[in-house]
Symmetry: C2
């Protein structure tokens, strides 16, 4: 590690990355390689002797980039966005440069304290209740992903409940959510040993715009209690993955509370929109929640990974996740003067991720961040309008944020409701390399998802994407 060689090499990498962004529209958005493409292109083992940086750059260009699906392309509309920004990138660089491992406060006080402060900033920006701030009993923490966020709060809830009802009751604990909830909840249940038959993924359909009905929830809880089970965890979503459905937090939260359940709100994607006053109402009812999660790495210009989680009672997390081995003991921790984030998460080690979030908030400022969100929503509206104007297509669910769910109408009254047609359209469109979109299934219908949110996307990209869709549809019909 020679500082001058680092400087020289890293400047070259900066240019490589800047050039990548300049030419990003030239790549097929979805990688078009075949499974196993890379194995034949690389040697079978590591080299005995050093290779040159130039050789590596050549290989990146010739062998790696063709296998990259370009999430930062302005023509990327699949899944949900994974934002990169200058500020986020600078934060990642600095974090990698300092390369600290911030498991305990003492291992870099700045890492813990900046995270506490920046998550308080973000909580205020979202107008979260005060008890999610570190001044009270709660607090914020950066998890890697929403999957880890829901897992740690599920574990905290499990511990809290088993402490109350006895540790042998694990097989009786029941989890509730709509069937639109992200698969990470199912995975958290698997990990936490919740019996699959005690996971109630309650049906939500178009009658509630795919939001979870409080009546359906009440009914399920009543039934479970009657047969001796123990409801302990409810997960509501603001902005589901399939269709950005919004669960009614206030009613759901009251039901959870009256049944002594932990209430988690997953706003991984749509949380970002709630920094705009006009969208904040979608998380009304968050004051009933025990925990709230939003992914700054989705639609908030913070490079992956950075998933912000707030909890009302930080002790619940610590009680379920802490260990205290001798070799990590230190004065500040023993005196309980500090937060040790190792006890708020699954891993021990953790990166200095607050740097990038701090830089995003400071380099852009609140007003620009709000404009950023509004612009994407405006572009999604534009796309929705284009779809609506073409009688061959339909918008399947009302657009709420920046995702449009739509499909090509079946030309005849086909048995599969046009599912194969839309599947084929998806394939055809993604095979052009010009855009990348993804799909879901809603009430048995195969639906195309067009998620706006890449930082480079402009109106012209929406227009061209729609043209590609129309052209491929014409070819298919």
């Amino acid at each position: 590690m020679d500082a001058e060689q680092l400087r020289e090499h890293a400047h070259k990498m900066v240019d490589f990355i800047a050039d990548y962004y300049k030419s990003i529209e030239n790549f097929p958005v979805l990688s078009q390689v075949e499974p196993g493409y890379l194995r034949g292109m690389l040697p079978d083992s590591a080299p005995d002797h050093p290779e040159s940086l130039e050789d590596i750059f050549n290989d990146i260009q010739a062998k790696i980039l063709p296998g990259v699906t370009h999430w930062q392309s302005p023509n990327y509309f699949a899944y949900y966005p994974s934002n990169s920004s200058i500020a986020g990138f600078l934060g990642e660089m600095l974090s990698a440069g300092l390369n600290i491992v911030g498991f305990s406060w003492i291992t870099s006080p700045a890492a813990t304290e900046l995270e506490m402060i920046v998550l308080d900033w973000l909580a205020k920006l979202l107008n979260l209740p005060d008890y999610f701030l570190l001044g009270g009993q709660g607090g914020g923490v950066i998890q890697g992903t929403a999957s880890e966020a829901v897992l740690v709060v599920l574990l905290a809830a499990r511990e809290r409940t088993l402490t109350r009802v006895g540790k042998n009751a694990l097989g009786k604990l029941v989890v509730y959510a709509s069937d639109q909830t992200h698969s990470s909840l199912q995975k958290a249940c698997q990990v936490g040993g919740i019996q699959p038959e005690n996971c109630r993924f309650l049906k939500a359909d178009s009658s509630t715009n795919y939001g979870l009905s409080p009546e359906v929830l009440c009914e399920a809880i009543t039934h479970d209690i009657a047969i001796g089970l123990i409801p302990f965890f409810l997960c509501a979503t603001v902005g589901t993955t399939s269709s950005t459905a919004v669960d009614p937090l206030l009613s759901l939260g009251k039901i959870a509370k009256s049944n002594g359940m932990w209430f988690h709100v997953d706003a991984a994607y749509a949380g970002s929109a709630c920094i705009c006053p006009e969208y904040r109402h979608y998380i009304d009812g968050v004051e009933e929640a025990d925990s709230f999660n939003m992914n700054a790495h989705k639609w908030f210009l913070t490079n992956f990974d950075c998933s912000a989680l707030w909890v009302k009672d930080r002790n619940a997390l610590v009680q379920s996740l802490s260990t205290n081995p001798e070799y990590l003991k230190n004065k500040a921790s023993q005196a309980r003067l500090v937060v040790d984030y190792k006890d708020w998460q699954i891993p021990l080690g953790r990166r200095f991720r607050s740097l990038k979030l701090w830089m995003v908030l400071r380099l852009y400022g609140i007003e620009n961040l709000q404009c950023y969100i509004r612009n994407h929503i405006k572009l999604a509206k534009l796309f929705e309008g284009l779809v609506a104007q073409d009688p061959r297509f339909e918008v399947v669910t009302p657009r709420i944020f920046s995702l449009v769910c739509f499909r090509l109408l079946p030309s005849q009254n086909k048995d599969d409701h046009g599912n194969k047609l839309n599947h084929d359209l998806l394939d055809a469109v993604n095979s052009t390399g010009k855009v990348f979109i993804s799909h879901t299934v809603l009430s048995g219908k195969y639906v195309l998802r067009f998620a706006v949110g890449a930082p480079l996307t402009e109106e012209r990209h929406i227009i061209s994407a729609w043209k590609v869709l129309q052209d491929e549809a014409s070819a298919l019909l």
Copy 2:
């Protein structure tokens, strides 16, 4: 995200980081700030309007760096190292620049395939059995940390066992390891719902150099089976955190196998040394293992995080961790033509971490990496020799790799065996800011740990560190 502005700003960040490395010896190694130091220095909320990069750099210098504990300092000897290198840093930059989220093969085939290839390279370098390679039934995967590695294999083992004995037997499952095992195993047990009273952290002492005794293990297993419990998981360590103790893999593995248990080998720290033929014998017996873990982010020049895990049977992982929501379905996955690493880990999303490991292997080459390890071990030997020459000190356990466990001998026959004295010495030494070391307790003795492994550490740093220790000891005695 303007490419030219990215270029301009990122070049500045490169210079900032290169300058940081040039001046790294000027900072106190262990941050000397007080708890809460940062809150008063930063505003209460995010700014409405953008701030300049210059202001941010000034704040990093004035407010963040004083709160950083400098893991990259050549005078850092605490815990275990967390290596940063030019290659590792470049890999982090490129990963952050591309900013893909590689949960499934299709989301960037290069990310999955490069990871498969590079972990095969590393497996060959460690001379791991062929069945850990992706050609067979097993394979390698990059986890964030060793904590996640041990958790996912514990979950795989839990699933495999419960499938055999019935899902209601969770309360009967027993885990075995020595009491020197890293706390991440205890945490994995907590997460996985293993009853605390079924976690056997078997006593290991100086009679076996803190390695787990096969006899002690056999006795425990026999007893547990006799009372109707189900042994299912054994974790052995090569290079424990306290003292780099090495468990006897071959005998332990055979016991595990004959009892139908999953055998995991944690070589998080010492695995790196095993790329040198003369240290490879420490993992002899790994051919009995179901899984093997080493942290490339510790002592292998790969910036945090990068924890390499190999499993013998990848289906065991996939069966316990997979989910298959509609919105992630795609042709390649459905046809089972590809690896989707989302099913080998806790989170859904994952960064392109193989880039940095690939760059480390290529930019340095095997021979240099072996020299790198040998040099640190030589420096640790040097330190060990210095300690041995001073009659006021003792080396507590035989040095095996690059960690020296030592202590100041109590001047009189104190009741606490010199524990307070060594605690005070640790405090005094770390308060100088000149070095950072940590501690452990072995058989009731408070022991100082001097772990060599920072990339910048040279002989002169060892000599000065020893001088600081001697001076502070003189002041105390």
